[in-house]
């Protein structure tokens, strides 16, 4: 894939050295796992050494939020590259289209803006073509797309070749999205990928150890990193009410009812099916390590998960770690009576039992608001 030459830099000194080597003008780019960096101020052109230094110092440590509020992501690394002289900016992508159950190849000569903006501005300017699973995608289909999108004639062959390479990469990497934006035609009429975003299927990471290494644990939130190390399904949120539920759907639903009750969830944590005591202890360690958390809601509907096991986990966790915050527990479903009996016998301090999910949500909001 033709790309501009460049170098990585983790410090201002490294960035300046790279810029000096590459020559001016050069481009200083934030390396974070989100699109929309340019708009966020994470991509700047430097005309000389002073500017390279200024941009590097401004961008390193910058917090970048994605176009839809993703993140923020802190910039720990830069990419310094030669500036390209640009004649035209295109947009090219391949995504997994969940509704069609096929890959979707998209190309537009209106590059530089995101795909939603292109579609809004001029839907006809975006060529969308599904890949038929039985046929695959080759030079012929690619050439047709390049022609339909109105790519400059002298750049068509190279653009089509680029699409075929993207398709090969998409399949070899188990990608669910590869977006090249902009794909540019340089003033000397070469087709070059200036920027790209790629998403790899988490479920396929086992066959891409090289890619798994790119995961930026250092850029993750401390609780998210801790949860990952403990093998928990956890997502950090902004609020002060810790949440633990079993099952992804029930956990999302728990966040929603807590919000409806006027609370602000601190996290999503799916304890999973068949949760055992050790998993509960690990989950409580992660939740309580977030200093914002004022109270914790346990919402368990035992199917395969047995409520007595959950109760044992809570009791064990209370013995092993200092929770420091009230616990609101709702246990329903398989072995709920046994579980509630165990909790009653253990007489833990600051433990509130609630019968229903909605009652528990109201209670946790009330308790948190008093602290």
């Amino acid at each position: 894939m033709p790309v501009p030459s460049g170098k990585h830099a983790k410090t201002i000194e490294e960035a300046v050295a790279a810029a000096e080597e590459i020559g001016y003008p050069c481009v200083v780019k934030a390396q974070v796992h989100i699109g929309g960096r340019g708009k966020a101020g994470g991509i700047k052109v430097a005309e000389d050494r002073d500017e390279a230094e200024q941009h590097a110092s401004a961008i390193l440590g910058m917090q970048i939020t994605g176009p839809h509020g993703e993140g923020p992501f802190e910039v720990h690394e830069l990419w310094i590259e030669e500036a390209s002289k640009i004649d035209a900016e295109y947009y090219a992508s391949i995504i997994l289209d969940r509704s069609a159950k096929k890959l979707l190849v998209m190309l537009s000569t209106m590059g530089g803006m995101n795909v939603e903006e292109i579609a809004d501005k001029d839907p006809d300017a975006l060529v969308r073509r599904h890949v038929e699973p039985a046929e695959g995608f080759g030079p012929e289909q690619a050439a047709q797309i390049a022609a339909d999108a109105g790519v400059d004639e002298d750049a068509r062959a190279e653009t089509a070749e680029m699409l075929v390479k993207l398709y090969t990469a998409f399949n070899e990497l188990d990608a669910t999205l590869i977006e090249v934006n902009p794909l540019v035609v340089t003033s000397d009429r070469r087709v070059v990928a200036l920027d790209s975003k790629t998403t790899i299927d988490n479920s396929a990471l086992y066959r891409h150890e090289d890619v798994a290494g790119f995961e930026e644990l250092s850029a993750m939130d401390p609780q998210e990193r801790m949860a990952k190390e403990k093998g928990l399904t956890y997502v950090k949120l902004d609020g002060d009410i810790g949440i633990l539920a079993n099952g992804a759907g029930l956990c999302m639903s728990t966040l929603d009812v807590v919000a409806q009750a006027g609370g602000d969830p601190a996290n999503f944590l799916d304890a999973g099916g068949g949760s055992k005591a050790d998993a509960i202890v690990a989950a409580l360690e992660v939740i309580t390590s977030d200093e914002k958390v004022k109270a914790i809601l346990f919402n368990i509907f035992g199917g395969i998960t047995r409520c007595d096991e959950i109760a044992k986990g809570i009791i064990e966790a209370a013995g092993r770690i200092d929770l420091g915050v009230p616990l609101i527990v709702r246990l329903d479903g398989t072995n709920s009576e046994e579980g509630l009996g165990l909790l009653a016998d253990a007489t833990l301090p600051d433990l509130h039992i609630e019968k229903t999910m909605l009652g528990a949500a109201a209670k946790v909001v009330e308790v948190a608001s008093q602290r």
Binding site: T176, V235, A259, F301, G303
Partner: protein
């Protein structure tokens, strides 16, 4: 009647000899499901508490007349196991396995469609037809036979709603977990059609969540083709964009796949959407009584 699994289901379980496979396979048999065989390569000739084990699904189908397959094998071998079941000629494949690479599922999805095999899942809790058969990991004790068909992306959320329906004295024709992966064999609209054609089903409860546009497409389909009342619930109003919320498919990508958009799409077509699982069950009971 019921849908997908009924009294005539003859089940073969791929991965029966594994810990989870044995646990749930035997639970399914205890419920009354006709579990005719298990499949584990190189373990043919063994048995699991009287259930004969074969090397291949084809042998199990030929010798025991299996017409329904359940997939319980590890993720990296699961797509191959589904393909094997399709080739063996069973009518229905229910894939419980979580974490199958989505690229593997594209080919398998189209293979099932071309052969006319009904694929449910992957990453789903299975299908329960109360009083008839249970194929998967749904805890049957929360569901009684009755007129409400349930179709859901989520397991525990379905048990929660099912339990509230049961406490309100209602039961279910079938409970279908379609799964939380980006590509699943059957979408809401496929299952809605089955309920529409099922005599026992008087109304449908549909449980969705963030990610993709299966709920939006279902809304269109309900308006065009479903005459029975549908009540819906959507989870994930507080989910931030770009974060995978447990299920591989539960992610808001850019501005698409939000709970709000799904709720609006359904309500625009006259489908009532409950604010909580409890309210959803209450609405269902109310609709049924009216």
């Amino acid at each position: 009647m019921s849908i997908i699994v009924g009294d005539d289901a003859k089940l073969v379980i791929s991965g029966l000899t594994g810990r989870e496979g044995t646990f749930h396979g035997l639970r399914n048999r205890d419920y009354g499901t006709d579990v005719v065989a298990g499949v584990t390569p190189k373990k043919g000739g063994q048995d699991v508490e009287g259930i004969p084990v074969f090397d291949t699904i084809a042998e199990a189908a030929a010798e025991k007349g299996a017409n329904t397959s359940m997939i319980f094998v590890p993720a990296r071998f699961a797509a191959a196991a589904i393909n094997e079941a399709i080739d063996a000629g069973v009518a229905t494949v229910i894939a419980i396995t979580e974490g199958i690479p989505v690229h593997d599922m594209i080919g398998t999805y189209w293979k099932a469609r071309e052969r006319g095999v009904r694929l449910i899942g992957p990453n789903c809790p299975g299908v329960l037809s109360p009083g008839k058969a249970n194929v998967g990991i749904i805890p049957a004790q929360f569901f009684d036979p009755g007129p409400i068909g349930v179709v859901s992306k989520s397991g525990t959320l379905t048990y929660q709603i099912g339990n509230e329906l049961k406490q309100a004295g209602q039961g279910n024709s079938s409970i279908v977990g379609i799964g939380g992966d980006p590509i699943v064999g059957s979408d809401f609209i496929d299952v809605l059609d089955l309920y529409e054609a099922d005599d026992e089903t008087e109304m449908i409860v549909m449980v969705g969540e963030i990610g993709g546009d299966a709920e939006e497409r279902a809304a269109e389909h309900i308006a065009a083709s479903i005459s029975k009342p549908v009540v819906a619930y959507i989870a994930g109003f507080t989910a931030p964009p770009g974060k995978q919320m447990g299920h591989a498919g539960a992610i808001i990508s850019g501005s698409s796949g939000t709970a709000e958009a799904k709720k609006e799409a359904l309500e625009a077509k006259g489908v009532r959407v409950g604010k909580s699982p409890t309210e959803t069950a209450q609405i269902a009971v109310e609709v049924l009584g009216s």
